[in-house]
């Protein structure tokens, strides 16, 4: 995959392009509404949902406030069970570790289970540069990889593609990656899924190295947990001789029994199912397999240091916040310029990467602050609170110079009754000349608003003239 999020324009620029694409808007509307309805039904059926949500948030807080302890506990448990543990401070180090582990096997091909962490670090690209091909096996990831495209949703990375587009991608690209698509392939989802099954079957059965992420890592026991639907996860986790799992340091849960909370929260909040079709749980080296766990920081400790923003690390990547977000529904995932789109991306991406670019500075503003994301979050991340905090940080960092100048001028005028009266009278006198749109950089403000016409007389002047009478 040669596509990359690097060098993306700011959110408003990318979003306005996406909003102009009617097909994309149609696909997104249909998909997000379908899944949010399913989720609402699955959550309504769980009588103790609010209690589970409170417990989930608290358990993650417990882990985060004592993360050093839990990481050491996890490491020890995995090693005790015959697994190897590696620590990666950043993306480059994680990629180097995985590369050397793959090289040690002598293989040049690996099969992958959908994983946000490996997307975040650009693992496929890093392996490709060294001559190792990583095959994505999740259906949506396969669509993205074959289409030389970028993921646009955490759960359904190809949510922006409809069935006709998927058929076209399969017919065009499957042959160059392996078994070609059947000549008579239709756009029936059943036929498309069957084409994916046939395309990947041989690859699964002969794979020697599997690479995964994990939804949860149990500190107490060293158990890793992967939830999935298709069975591609089980294939990648079970059949290869070597398994490498790249896991963010925030994925820990304290104890085995604590999984009872998350195994109820995640499936219902994510796919809107009572339970996802398949979940694999394994502890260390299993059934003769060689197992490597790569613990990834890559900015997470920066997020942890922020006492307001820290709560973003509770995220269990269910993507419910994307599906209810009015901004995501219209702008789509690509505009967020990161593998983490939507409301959670708007708070996680700039914290992980820092405010280094126009894009990252614009992300905290990619929200109407309606709060729907907070309502649906299964671990109660107060996304609007973090957005506001990040906006304050952007403002304090020296961005928005024009706005600050205007505000400083307004402060002077508004704090002097004489100046205010004079400027109101001047504006009233020239009210016929008020332009509809402002010139130059100020036009950004009037692109979406009309300038209110100044009244002929200010309230103060009217009050004064009334007293005179």
């Amino acid at each position: 995959m040669s596509s990359t999020f690097v060098g993306m324009p700011s959110f408003p620029k990318a979003a306005s392009r996406a909003v102009g694409n009617a097909q994309l808007r149609h696909n997104l509307h249909k998909a997000t509404h379908t899944i949010r309805d399913k989720r609402a039904a699955a959550v309504a059926e769980q009588p103790d949902w609010d209690d589970l949500r409170a417990a989930g948030a608290a358990l993650k807080n417990r882990v985060l406030r004592h993360l050093d302890l839990y990481l050491e506990q996890l490491e020890e448990a995995v090693q005790r069970a015959g697994g190897h543990v590696h620590w990666a401070a950043d993306a480059a180090e994680a990629n180097r570790i995985v590369l050397s582990l793959v090289r040690a096997t002598g293989e040049t091909e690996v099969v992958k289970v959908k994983s946000m962490a490996t997307q975040e670090i650009g693992l496929n690209e890093a392996l490709a540069e060294e001559g190792i091909t990583a095959y994505e096996t999740d259906l949506a990831e396969l669509i993205v990889q074959l289409g030389d495209d970028l993921p646009s949703h955490i759960l359904v990375p190809a949510i922006h593609r409809n069935r006709a587009e998927i058929r076209e991608i399969f017919q065009r690209a499957m042959a160059s990656w392996g078994r070609p698509a059947p000549a008579d392939l239709t756009d029936d989802p059943r036929a498309l899924a069957e084409a994916a099954r046939l395309h990947l079957r041989e690859r699964f059965l002969s794979a020697k190295v599997g690479i995964s992420g994990a939804n949860f890592a149990v500190a107490e026991t060293g158990t890793l947990v992967v939830l999935e639907s298709e069975g591609n996860g089980r294939m990648c986790l079970t059949l290869p001789e070597t398994l490498i799992s790249v896991v963010g340091i925030e994925k820990l849960v304290p104890t085995w029994q604590d999984l009872e909370v998350f195994m109820q929260l995640l499936p219902r909040s994510s796919t809107g199912e009572r339970m996802n079709p398949y979940t694999s749980m394994w502890t260390g080296a299993t059934e003769g397999q060689e197992f490597h766990l790569v613990l990834l920081d890559n900015g997470r400790t920066k997020v942890l240091a922020d006492t307001v923003g820290r709560q973003a690390l509770r995220c269990i990547r269910c993507s419910a916040c994307l599906n209810v977000c009015p901004v995501y529904e219209r702008a789509g995932g690509h505009a967020y310029g990161s593998v983490y789109p939507g409301p959670i991306g708007a708070i996680l991406t700039p914290q992980l990467r820092g405010f280094g670019s126009e894009l990252d500075e614009s992300l905290p503003y990619a929200s109407t602050l309606c709060g729907a994301c907070y309502d649906v979050c299964p671990v109660a991340i107060n996304i609007p609170e973090v957005l506001l905090d990040l906006r304050a940080k952007v403002a304090a960092s020296g961005a928005h110079k024009g706005e600050k100048l205007a505000m400083a001028a307004a402060r002077r005028v508004l704090s002097s009754p004489g100046l205010l009266g004079a400027s109101q009278r001047t504006a009233g006198r020239f009210r016929k000349l008020t332009p509809r749109r402002l010139p130059g950089p100020l036009s950004a403000w009037t692109d979406t608003r009309d300038i209110p016409a100044p009244p002929p007389q200010s309230f103060r002047d009217w009050w004064a003239s009334r007293e005179e009478k």
Partner: protein
């Protein structure tokens, strides 16, 4: 090893606001959620949920009767003999390759625990279950669940499981919703899941 110390040091400095006397247990976790709850008959509920996933369900049909005539079935170690009368059986001894498993017609197993509310069957590699690949590669999975293995909720199930064993939780046949959010059964895992409740 350097990065291990780097990351742990970063974590500790990021948590400067956490009092040094605080322990994990000092962070309150409200456990007001339900461990179990009253509800419809366990078997009835389990069957309802399985059907919702489009699994095929049999109640109190002798296993051998269901397994006969289904072609060659993988039978893991520890499978009761009475399930197998007249069944064309394949054994994993010596262990079969993935390709050999792919040529079988199906697999017949038991399970460790089942969850009624979510229609979930959990395998842990115990008797009549075998290693994980056995229930993954063959296209047809016939799974036997004893009534006493069914619990109502997820918390009850976790309590019965041993974390040191590898687990596979199965809720219906393999499925995907990646194309326009339409759920389609049958991608890489067994496309048919048949459950026999005894």
């Amino acid at each position: 090893m350097a990065s291990r110390e780097t990351i742990l040091a970063r974590v500790r400095s990021a948590l400067a606001d956490v009092p040094s006397t605080e322990t994990p247990d000092d962070v309150p976790v409200p456990r007001d959620y339900q461990h179990t709850r009253p509800g419809p008959d366990l078997v009835e509920l389990f069957v309802d949920r399985l059907m919702d996933y489009r699994a095929v369900v049999h109640l109190d049909t002798p296993v051998a009767e269901l397994a006969r005539g289904r072609g060659r079935l993988m039978v893991p170690p520890g499978t009761p003999g009475e399930w197998l009368s007249g069944v064309d059986v394949a054994r994993d001894d010596p262990p079969l390759t993935a390709t050999e498993l792919d040529h079988l017609d199906g697999v017949l197993t038991g399970c460790a625990v089942a969850i009624a509310e979510t229609g979930t069957i959990i395998l842990d590699g115990g008797p009549a279950q075998g290693r994980r690949a056995l229930t993954l590669v063959p296209d047809h999975h016939l799974c036997v669940v004893h009534r006493e293995q069914i619990v109502r909720t997820v918390p009850e199930a976790l309590q019965r499981l041993d974390p040191t064993r590898p687990h596979t939780w199965i809720s219906g046949p393999s499925a995907t919703s990646d194309i326009e959010l339409d759920r389609i059964e049958g991608v890489h895992g067994p496309r048919t899941l048949e459950v026999a409740i005894l």
